[in-house]
Structures are given as structure tokens and as C-alpha cells.
């Protein structure tokens, strides 16, 4: 389905001006973060990074957003930001298409738009800050699970909602990765969807174990799913028999890493993601970047980044956490 | 008759109480004294303020002015619980039961016999209920939910509930309105028993034979004001009526003989399992057919099925030669049928809506102009009918629920008379209606019949049946037991058929 986040070829307004890497950063930039949903712990951490970055270039920062993840309420927040004349809008989109009209009005009114975590169609934003390339995420998780189950066995995937775009991209790439000869003995037997709800994730984990008695491992590329599956496994007869890995935050999984339910798992640092998004927005708004492929800029203490094809900047490969390193992080 | 010289102090005294609802003065300056061992009857037209007085004694309304004394002590009844605690048991005019609770719990709610650890003793509860109902000669299953009880059965449960209270003062607001003679007689016996035990009773009825049969004292109210209080033996029905109405009342059953025309309504083999079986009758223009029987005989269910609000399993209904589709009141109305149902509060009226909305409800389309309906038109129409039936109301825009019981009944009559039906079905048309208006209703029925209407009347009042009907169909346990000619029938022949012993009268 090419109608979601997939960057369309030749889409988007061509950069009109030339980038000037030495342009001074505009003073008093107003930066607004618009997460999928406010009060979501993941985005709270990302906001921390954004706030830190904004303080570095002496802008004003705010976070606004709906209390439940829906595209339509994001639209009304974008409209509000447009009304307020915000300079930088950093958004994690609930729907790649639905927010497009509103974002383009915002850009017409002079704002720059940076997407992070979850992209829109390429023609409605200036830059996308990719937390990790999908290939990296998929490869890391496959490596982790393969190591944990000793390179052979049945595995299952516990995803978020069936319509989560990034989840589905990762799952597809994991399947590709597993098709390589090195993983010939590993087979994905099922994909379950816990809808990012605790109870549903519990039930789906149970269902997986029930319908696949020989299951060797579960990969859950979503923080809620991973935490719920870990909690369920740790208290059930399957503890220690079924391996578990995926994407999760160190704080959520510390307990289960220490009690042996989860050997290792991966994630990027959401704070860095927010930090990078804010800096990229400032660079755009000041004319240091236009979003064209090949441009480079420095994002505070994270160092230098290069704009890739379709205006995508990658944060870097995800970090792997295990018993030795999990206590070094706090998010 | 108890000896008046040895009269103990009054059990209850109301002194110059008054009560208004907005602009409507329901009761003004009424005093009333109830003595232990005496039955005090309250008489008055519909809307005279009787039920309002009752509600004050029940703790439902608080008087605006005036005082209440119990055994000589001034008392304020803040709520129904307080009235009950003070030893006052009330039977309200409109029975209000808990449809989902069993009859036993309806009787003994909050007073259920309890056993160990305060748990309800269900066996004792059932036994007490059976005993209480037996006092009234009623055999209802104590475990049966109250939902679906006929109005009469509801009234009986309401009475049993009040009687089961260990009270010193009993207030009874038209307890017999829905009952037939048998039950009413049994209630009278129970009331006498209560008096003998020293209870004081306030008794309200529109039936004079009951009042004069029971009461020691009679108070007459008019327009919310006290008119007179006298010992019953110094009064006659005529004097009471004159004091109530302020004028003489015409004959109660002014039946004018008519020559019946063509058959309009024909019912053949009507059956509904569990309710009635193989009922057939026909009514001709100008004729009044009465359906008689004991309470619960199934009369109401027959007429409901004919009108289409209830389904039936077999049989046909034909109006003016055309078969009527089952289960459609709208079709019945289009064919010229009208049904004044027995339960005015549930079936007859939308209590929350204004009088004018209620009277218009049967003719919404006819009153509309270009599809639009205005309050002005509804009001003009409602005023016409309320004046014709002499309804006492605080304006046609007031909710129907604020009218007195009898006046509500008149609104139901009005909304159906206004449809100008060819066949008028009346289920207990004069329940709760005062004597003056009753005469009026009867006169109207005669008039309508004379103008060629066919009338089917269900009534539990034998005199009404005998006085008004051209023919009487008697039902017993869902089956027709006799068809009697109106003029020739006597109370005995009807009762014989109603109890299942037609004795060759058919």
C-alpha cells in the first residue's frame, strides 16, 4: 500500500532558496512539539530533548496535542499553531495523509514542519527525523531473537494495532531478513496485535503460547506489548522457556532484564530524537537547511547529520540494552 | 354506631391547612378531625382537593399554612417515612407498585421479616403476604412480580400493603375505584374490623352507597374549601351532592331508548392464549354493549386486542364489514374505533406533557396545517374540549400529571371523543369520576348512541352496567358465559354469569 507514509517520488514543493550553512540562527524561534498524544511517556521523554535543544538556541518551546491519538484532533492543533504564527512545528503524525492539508496551510503561513517518530507524506513536511532506519530496527531485532533462541525455532511477533504503519514496515523487513540463509531454522508462525493495551497484549501473548506450544521466542516491536508480554511471562509457567525481545524503554523493562525474563532488547533514545528534531527545525527556520538531499548541519552535542533522500535524517542505529547496560539509562 | 359521648381524644387533627401549586390553590383553610374507632368520609368533586389533603397526611406534600396534630401534639411530617413512623398508613388514589419486585416485597419492603444476621426470612415473608392478601379474599401468588397486574389487582396490593402496616390511622383515597362490588364489600368489612380495633380511618370515594354504608362522619369539600362536617346519619346522599356540586344533579343513568342501526363492529372467535378464548360479539349503531365480569375476567384484554394494542392468536375483528388488521391501533382509528383505556396514567395520558398536547395526540395530522402544527391550534382545540367536559385545570399548558385523578380521566375521554369515532370503546370510563360528572358522562354516552355511535363499555360498577347497557356480555375467566338483554338483566343474573354459573339466563 503506497498510500501511507511512503514518500512519493518527486513530491513536495522544491526547495526555493539555497541553504546557507553559516546563516545565523534566528533569535526567538517559537518551537512547538505536537506528539501523537500528550502525556504518553515516550513522547514526554522526546519532549525533554526538544526542550533542551530549544533552550540551547534560546527559542521558546511548547508542547501541545490531543489527549488521545487521533488525526483529526491533531489537525485542529495544527490549525491553532498556524493561527499563533509558530515558527517550527515538530509533529509525530497519527495519519500520514490526514494532517497534510493543515500542515501545508501552516507552511504557507511561514512555519517549517519537521516530522519525527512517525512521518507524513513527504510533500507536507520539510524534514523527517527517522529514529532509526526500518532496516536497522528489523535487523537488530532479528539478531537479538536469533541469539536468544540459539538460532533455531518458532517465533511470533506481538505488534501494536494492526494498522500501525511503522510496525508493519518493521515486520515486513524482519520477514525479509529472516529469509536469509543464516536464519533458515527460524520461522515466524504468527503475528498478534495487542493494540498497545495491557489487557489485550496479555491475552494475545497467552493466545500465542496456547496455539503454538513449541514457540521459542516472541518479538514485540512496541513498548506496551513488550512490557506486557514480559510481565505475563515472568509470572507464568513459560518463564525462562520462551525468549522475549523487542523495542522497549529501559525503565519499563529493567525489572524483567534483572529477573531473566528478557535477555536484551533495543530502542533508540527518544530524548535524542526530540533534541534532533528541534535542532533540525531551528536550522530549517534559519535557512541553514532547505531539506535538500546532501545538506549537512550540526545538532548541538549530537554532532553532525546529513539529509538523506526525501528529506529524511536518521538518528542512528538503535541501542541494545542488556543486564549490564540497562541501569545506565533513565527513560 | 359508637357512642359519641364516650369519644376518646382525636387521633389526628388538621387545622386550617392550605396548599397551592403555583397559581392553583388546591386546598385552602381546611380543618379535619379523625377519631379513633370512627370512619370519616371525605366527599367532593374532582379536583376539590381530597387527594391533596391525603398527600399532606402521607408526608408527600408539606402544607403551606396550618398545623397538624397527632394525639394532641403538633407534628410536622417531613417525608413519607415520617408519616409512616407516626402510625399513618396511606392508600393512594393511584397505586404505585414496584413492577420488578414480587408482590410479597411490594407489601413488606423495608419491613421484611428477618432471621439470622439480619437476613431476610423469605418463608416468613411469603406466609405473611398470603395471610394479608387472604384478609381481602385475594389469591395472588406472593412471588409473582407486580408487573402486568391489572389495575384492580394493583389496587388490591396497594390496599394490602397499607393494611399490613401496624398503623393507628388509615387514609384511603378511592381504594375501591377499580374494584367490583365483591372486593369492595370485603374491604368494607376489613375497615369495620380496623375501627373495632380502635383505628381512625379517613375514607374517600365517589360511590355514595359506600360512603353511607361505612362512614360515621362526612366532610364535604368544594374548590379546596371546607363546606361541612356532619355525622353521616344526619345526611342524605342528595344533601351531600348538593353541597359538593352546589346544584342539583340530573339522573345518573339517563338512558334514552334508541333504535339500533347496522352492525358496525363484529368480533368473532377472538382468542389470545392465556387471556381470553373464543369471544364473539357485535355492536350496532346506536347500541351500548357492556362487558361485565369480575376483576381479572379478561374484559380489558379483549377490548385492547380489538383496538389493536395487543396481539391475538385467533379470530377476526370487522368494522363496518371490513376486516381490521391485527395489532395496529392506527388502522383501528382509521376505521373509526376509539379506546378509552382503563389505566389513565400509563395508557391514557402522557403525564409529563401539557393538557393541550395530550388532547391533540390522537389527531396530530388532522390538527396540522400544511404539515405544521402550532401550539395555538392545539390550545384552542383543548380549550373547547376541557370546557365541554368541565375539566378543572390550571391552564391547558400545565402538565396533565398535575390534574386531579378525575380530571385526568376527563382528558382521556376528551382526546378520544374528539376523534369523532364510529365505535367508542370505554374501559371503566367513570373510574374516579365524581357523581356530577358521572351523570354528565352518562348523558353524553346516551347522546352519542342516539346520534348513531356504537359503544362498547367495560365496567365493574354493576349499576352502571345495568343502567346504561342495551345488551350485556358477561365474561368469566376469559370466556363468555352469557349475553343478557340490558333492560331485563338484574344484578343477580349478571353476577351468576360472572361467577361462572349462568344458570340458564343466556
Amino acid at each position: 500500500d503506497g498510500d501511507d507514509g511512503g514518500p512519493g517520488p518527486g513530491a513536495g514543493p522544491e526547495p526555493t532558496a539555497q541553504a546557507d550553512p553559516d546563516a545565523p540562527l534566528r533569535p526567538d524561534l517559537s518551537v512547538a512539539f505536537l506528539p501523537k498524544q500528550v502525556n504518553n511517556p515516550y513522547f514526554t521523554v522526546a519532549r525533554g530533548g526538544g526542550e533542551r535543544a530549544t533552550a540551547e538556541f534560546a527559542g521558546t518551546f511548547k508542547e501541545v496535542g490531543p489527549s488521545e491519538a487521533s488525526a483529526s484532533s491533531q489537525v485542529s492543533y495544527i490549525n491553532t499553531l498556524t493561527q499563533q504564527g509558530t515558527d517550527v512545528i515538530a509533529i509525530s503524525a497519527n495519519d500520514p495523509g490526514a494532517v497534510c492539508g493543515a500542515l501545508n496551510s501552516a507552511r504557507d503561513a511561514g512555519a517549517v514542519v519537521v516530522t519525527f517518530d512517525s512521518d507524513t507524506r513527504a510533500e507536507c513536511r520539510d524534514l523527517f527525523i527517522n529514529q532509526a532506519t526500518a532496516e536497522d530496527v528489523a535487523r537488530t531485532q532479528v539478531e537479538l531473537i536469533a541469539g536468544q533462541i540459539g538460532g533455531a525455532g518458532e517465533i511470533a511477533i506481538l505488534s501494536a494495532t494492526p494498522n500501525a504503519t511503522n510496525q508493519n514496515t518493521w515486520i515486513a523487513l524482519m520477514e525479509e531478513e529472516l529469509a536469509r540463509p543464516a536464519y533458515a531454522d527460524i520461522e515466524i508462525v504468527a503475528v498478534a496485535y495487542g493494540n498497545d493495551e495491557d489487557e489485550k497484549s496479555f491475552q494475545e501473548t497467552q493466545g500465542l503460547l496456547r496455539s503454538h506450544p513449541d514457540l521459542a521466542g516472541i518479538v514485540s516491536p512496541t513498548t506496551v506489548g513488550l512490557a506486557a508480554a514480559a510481565r505475563y511471562l515472568s509470572g507464568s509457567e513459560y518463564a525462562g522457556r520462551v525468549a522475549l525481545t523487542g523495542l522497549g524503554t529501559p525503565n519499563q523493562l529493567r525489572q524483567f532484564v534483572h529477573d531473566g525474563t528478557v535477555e536484551s532488547f533495543a530502542l533508540w533514545n527518544p530524548a535524542d530524537l526530540g533534541y534532533l528534531a528541534a535542532h533540525a527545525g531551528a536550522a530549517l527556520a534559519s535557512g541553514r537547511l532547505t531539506g535538500a538531499e546532501g545538506e549537512t548541519f550540526t545538532a548541538g552535542d549530537l554532532g553532525e547529520f546529513t539529509v538523506g533522500p526525501d528529506g529524511v535524517i536518521a538518528l542512528g542505529p538503535p541501542t541494545v540494552f542488556d543486564a549490564a547496560t540497562v541501569d545506565d539509562y533513565d527513560f | 354506631m359508637p357512642d359519641p359521648t364516650a369519644a376518646p381524644p382525636p387521633a389526628l387533627r388538621l387545622h386550617r391547612v392550605a396548599k397551592s401549586f403555583g397559581a392553583v390553590t388546591a386546598v385552602s383553610d381546611v380543618s379535619l378531625t379523625l377519631h379513633p374507632g370512627r370512619v370519616h368520609a371525605l366527599a367532593g368533586e374532582n379536583g376539590a382537593g381530597k387527594s391533596t389533603l391525603v398527600r399532606m397526611l402521607a408526608g408527600v406534600h408539606r402544607p403551606d399554612r396550618g398545623t397538624l396534630e397527632l394525639d394532641g401534639h403538633p407534628t410536622v411530617l417531613r417525608d413519607p417515612a415520617a408519616a409512616r413512623a407516626a402510625g399513618i398508613a396511606v392508600i393512594h388514589q393511584e397505586p404505585t407498585l414496584f413492577p420488578d419486585l414480587s408482590i410479597a416485597e411490594n407489601l413488606y419492603l423495608s419491613r421484611q421479616p428477618t432471621g439470622r444476621l439480619g437476613r431476610i426470612d423469605r418463608r416468613a415473608l411469603r406466609a405473611a403476604t398470603t395471610a394479608q392478601l387472604a384478609r381481602l379474599g385475594v389469591t395472588l401468588d406472593p412471588d409473582r412480580p407486580a408487573r402486568g397486574l391489572s389495575i384492580a389487582d394493583q389496587q388490591l396490593v396497594e390496599i394490602a400493603r397499607a393494611l399490613s402496616l401496624d398503623a393507628r390511622i388509615f387514609v384511603m383515597d378511592e381504594p375501591t375505584a377499580a374494584l367490583s362490588g365483591t372486593e369492595a364489600a370485603r374491604l368494607a368489612a376489613v375497615v369495620r374490623g380496623l375501627c373495632d380495633r380502635g383505628a381512625a380511618v379517613l375514607f374517600i370515594s365517589h360511590r355514595f352507597e359506600e360512603i353511607f354504608g361505612l362512614a360515621h362522619d362526612i366532610t364535604v369539600l368544594r374548590d379546596g374549601r371546607h363546606v361541612s362536617t356532619d355525622p353521616a346519619d344526619r345526611l342524605t346522599p342528595d344533601t351531600v351532592v348538593r353541597r359538593m356540586v352546589g346544584r342539583d344533579v340530573g339522573a345518573l343513568y339517563p338512558k334514552t331508548p334508541t333504535t339500533p342501526g347496522d352492525t358496525v363492529l363484529e368480533v368473532t372467535g377472538l382468542t389470545r392464549h392465556g387471556a381470553f378464548h373464543d369471544i364473539s360479539f357485535s355492536v350496532r349503531r346506536g347500541e351500548i354493549l357492556a362487558l361485565a365480569g369480575l376483576v381479572g375476567a379478561g374484559r380489558s384484554e379483549v377490548v385492547r386486542a380489538v383496538f389493536g394494542v395487543d396481539r391475538y392468536d385467533a379470530g377476526t375483528v370487522t368494522v363496518a364489514g371490513r376486516p381490521l388488521p391485527a395489532g395496529s391501533p392506527a388502522a383501528a382509528m382509521a376505521a373509526g374505533l376509539a379506546l378509552v383505556p382503563e389505566d389513565r396514567r400509563q395508557q391514557g395520558l402522557v403525564l409529563q406533557l401539557s393538557v393541550e398536547r395530550n388532547t391533540a395526540l390522537t389527531r396530530l395530522r388532522r390538527l396540522a396545517r400544511h404539515g405544521l402544527l402550532t401550539t395555538r391550534r392545539e390550545r384552542a382545540d383543548a380549550l373547547h374540549w376541557t370546557e365541554r367536559l368541565r375539566v378543572r385545570h390550571g391552564g391547558t399548558h400545565t402538565p396533565a400529571g398535575t390534574l386531579s385523578g378525575g380530571n385526568q380521566q376527563k382528558i382521556v375521554l376528551a382526546k378520544w371523543l374528539a376523534t369523532e369515532p364510529a365505535v367508542l370503546i370505554l374501559d371503566e370510563p367513570t373510574r374516579g369520576i365524581d357523581i356530577g360528572t358521572k351523570a354528565e358522562v352518562h348523558r353524553m354516552m346516551s347522546e352519542l348512541a342516539a346520534r348513531g355511535l356504537a359503544i362498547v363499555m367495560v365496567s365493574s360498577e354493576l349499576p352502571e352496567v345495568l343502567g346504561m347497557a342495551d345488551r350485556i356480555l358477561v365474561l368469566h375467566e376469559g370466556r363468555a358465559t352469557a349475553t343478557l338483554p340490558g333492560p331485563g338483566a338484574t344484578a343477580e343474573t349478571v353476577m351468576a354469569a360472572a361467577t361462572g354459573h349462568p344458570g340458564g339466563a343466556a
Binding site: N40, P162, F202, Q203, R231, S236 | L109, H277
Partner: protein, 328 residues
């Protein structure tokens, strides 16, 4: 109420049908661990349904339970995380107290204001959820922040039966006993059956309604504590959207939505049925895109079946009524 309970029979039939069907397709659905998981999963919903039943019987409704659960869950977890030394009973009491306060607020607004519960609790649903969010301010409390013994409560078993399930059963039995055998419990039915009659009979309706909401709130608080113990991860969204599930459980369990009839055992069966539907779909590996549609269809089927059984039984009772013999 002393007769057989046809309303519960309907749900029970639906439940057995579902279990039999699933077990036929996958026998492991009846394994010890599986049954344990099922009971565990149903426990929280059951506790909520018990409270909701009491409220619905009085012709009211409590839509705020999901938000109350969230607030209590977060409160308890926050307390335990910031004061790790807090004795567990005290922490549980704190959660229940939060719930009780919310319930008392609902009850007071409804009974003193004389206003419809649906509107008030829809309002407090928003208000309490907003409060939980501003309290949590995006924080999440994780398993590592919670004391081990507290987390163990969520998984502990007594003689192989999950502790949480036992607790839920105890709650249901206690409420059932109260509703069935105590005067005040019967008064709840009376209030819901016909408020006007209850007023005339001198039933202290206001007090009873307040009690019902207090109970519902407290049980939602308890459910919040159980939630925190079971899932180990709590943020301000805990229990979001739960209200519709609870109402569905109660209604499926045969409690009349307009009050006056139904039983808490029926509601508990309803909760079990709903949970079972979720588990069955997971075990049967029903296409994820179909799952929600099937849940909806099964809810409809359950209430339909219940209605069918009820009317059948009523019809049979009417036909065998003593007064009138049946037509030949």
C-alpha cells in the same frame, strides 16, 4: 427474586457454548494455565461489574469507572514508587480511598442535585481522566519501581487459583448476599424499579444511591490497585475506555439497564463471557482485523440469546397460567 434466575441462565448458556466451541478447536484452551489466565483476566472486569451492577439496579449508571480505575491505579503505584516502605495494605487502602472519594463525589452530585447519573458520570469521566493526566504529567511507573511483593499479588495463586480471582469472587459473593438478603439491598431494586413508589414507601433513596456510587467507586479503586499489581506498568491512561466494557458486561449479564432487575452473579458471568470472548479469539487466532467485529457480533448474540430465553420462559409461564385453560 426467589424463583429460578432465567436471566443468568442465558449468559451461562452463551458462556458454556463459547468455551465448548473454543476447546473443541484447541484443547489447550482448557489447560490449567489457560484457565488460570482466564480467571485472572476476568478478575478486574468482574470487580468493576459488581460495582456497576449495584448502581445500574438503582436506575443509574457510572460511566466514570474507567477514569476512577486509572486515577486509583496511578495513585497506588505512585505511592509505592515514591515511598517504597509503605505497607501493602495501606497502599491498597489508599487506592480504594481514592475510588471511594470519586464515588462519593458522583453520588453526592447525583442525589443532592437530583440529576441524571449518565450526564454527571460522563462529566466526571472527563474530569477525573484529566486529573489523572495532570497528576501523572506523562510519567509512567514501571515494574522496577514497584515493590516485589506487590507485583507478586498480581500473579500469586492459592491452591492453584489466582488470588485476584478469589478476591473478585469474594466481592461478587458479598455483594450478591447483600442485594439478595438484606433490606437495604432490596431497597436498591425498589428504587430502580419505580422511584416514585420508593419515595412513597419511605425508602431513603438518596442515601441508598449515594451508597451505591460509593461502592462502585470503591470497587473501581480496588480494581485500580489490582490493575497496578497485575500489569506492573501504570500511566494515566490505565483503564481508558473500560466503561463501555463494564456496561457491556453488566448488560450482557442480564441486568436491566433501566434498573430494578438483574443480579450481580449475572454481571460477573457477563464479565467472564466478555473476557472469554477476547481469550478465545486470541487462542483461535482469528484474523486480527476480524476480532473486533466478532466481539461486537458476539455481544449482540449474547443479549439476543438472553432475550430469547427470557421471552420463551415467560411465554411458557403464561401458557401454563392456572386461571385460564389453553385453547384446544
Amino acid at each position: 427474586m426467589t424463583r429460578a434466575h432465567p436471566r443468568e441462565l442465558g449468559v451461562l448458556a452463551a458462556l458454556l457454548l463459547l468455551i465448548a466451541g473454543t476447546a473443541a478447536a484447541n484443547p489447550r484452551f482448557l489447560s490449567a494455565q489457560s484457565v488460570r489466565d482466564l480467571l485472572l483476566s476476568a478478575a478486574i472486569l468482574t470487580v468493576l461489574a459488581a460495582g456497576q451492577t449495584v448502581v445500574v439496579l438503582t436506575r443509574n449508571i457510572d460511566l466514570s469507572v474507567g477514569s476512577v480505575l486509572g486515577l486509583a491505579a496511578f495513585g497506588t503505584a505512585d505511592l509505592l514508587a515514591t515511598h517504597p516502605g509503605t505497607p501493602l495494605p495501606l497502599a491498597a487502602l489508599a487506592g480504594i480511598t481514592i475510588g471511594a472519594l470519586c464515588g462519593a463525589l458522583n453520588g453526592a452530585l447525583i442525589s443532592y442535585g437530583g440529576v441524571p447519573a449518565l450526564v454527571i458520570t460522563l462529566g466526571t469521566l472527563y474530569v477525573l481522566r484529566g486529573t489523572a493526566h495532570s497528576w501523572a504529567a506523562g510519567r509512567q511507573i514501571n515494574a522496577a519501581d514497584l515493590p516485589r511483593p506487590f507485583l507478586d499479588l498480581g500473579t500469586a495463586t492459592v491452591l492453584g487459583v489466582p488470588l485476584l480471582a478469589l478476591l473478585a469472587t469474594a466481592v461478587v459473593l458479598a455483594v450478591a448476599l447483600w442485594l439478595h438478603s438484606y433490606r437495604s439491598g432490596r431497597e436498591l431494586y425498589a428504587i430502580g424499579s419505580e422511584p416514585a413508589a420508593a419515595a412513597r414507601a419511605g425508602v431513603p433513596a438518596g442515601r441508598r444511591v449515594r451508597t451505591a456510587f460509593l461502592l462502585s467507586g470503591s470497587l473501581a479503586g480496588l480494581a485500580g490497585v489490582l490493575y497496578a499489581a497485575r500489569y506492573g506498568t501504570v500511566d494515566a491512561t490505565a483503564g481508558q475506555g473500560m466503561e463501555l466494557q463494564v456496561v457491556a458486561a453488566v448488560v450482557v449479564g442480564g441486568v436491566a439497564i433501566f434498573g430494578g432487575s438483574g443480579s450481580v452473579t449475572g454481571a460477573a458471568l457477563g464479565a467472564l463471557l466478555l473476557t472469554c470472548i477476547g481469550s478465545s479469539l486470541a487462542v483461535l487466532r482469528v484474523d486480527p482485523f476480524w476480532q473486533q467485529a466478532v466481539v461486537g457480533a458476539l455481544i449482540l448474540a449474547a443479549i439476543g440469546l438472553d432475550r430469547l430465553l427470557t421471552t420463551r420462559l415467560a411465554a411458557r409461564a403464561a401458557r401454563t397460567a392456572p386461571e385460564v385453560s389453553r385453547a384446544g
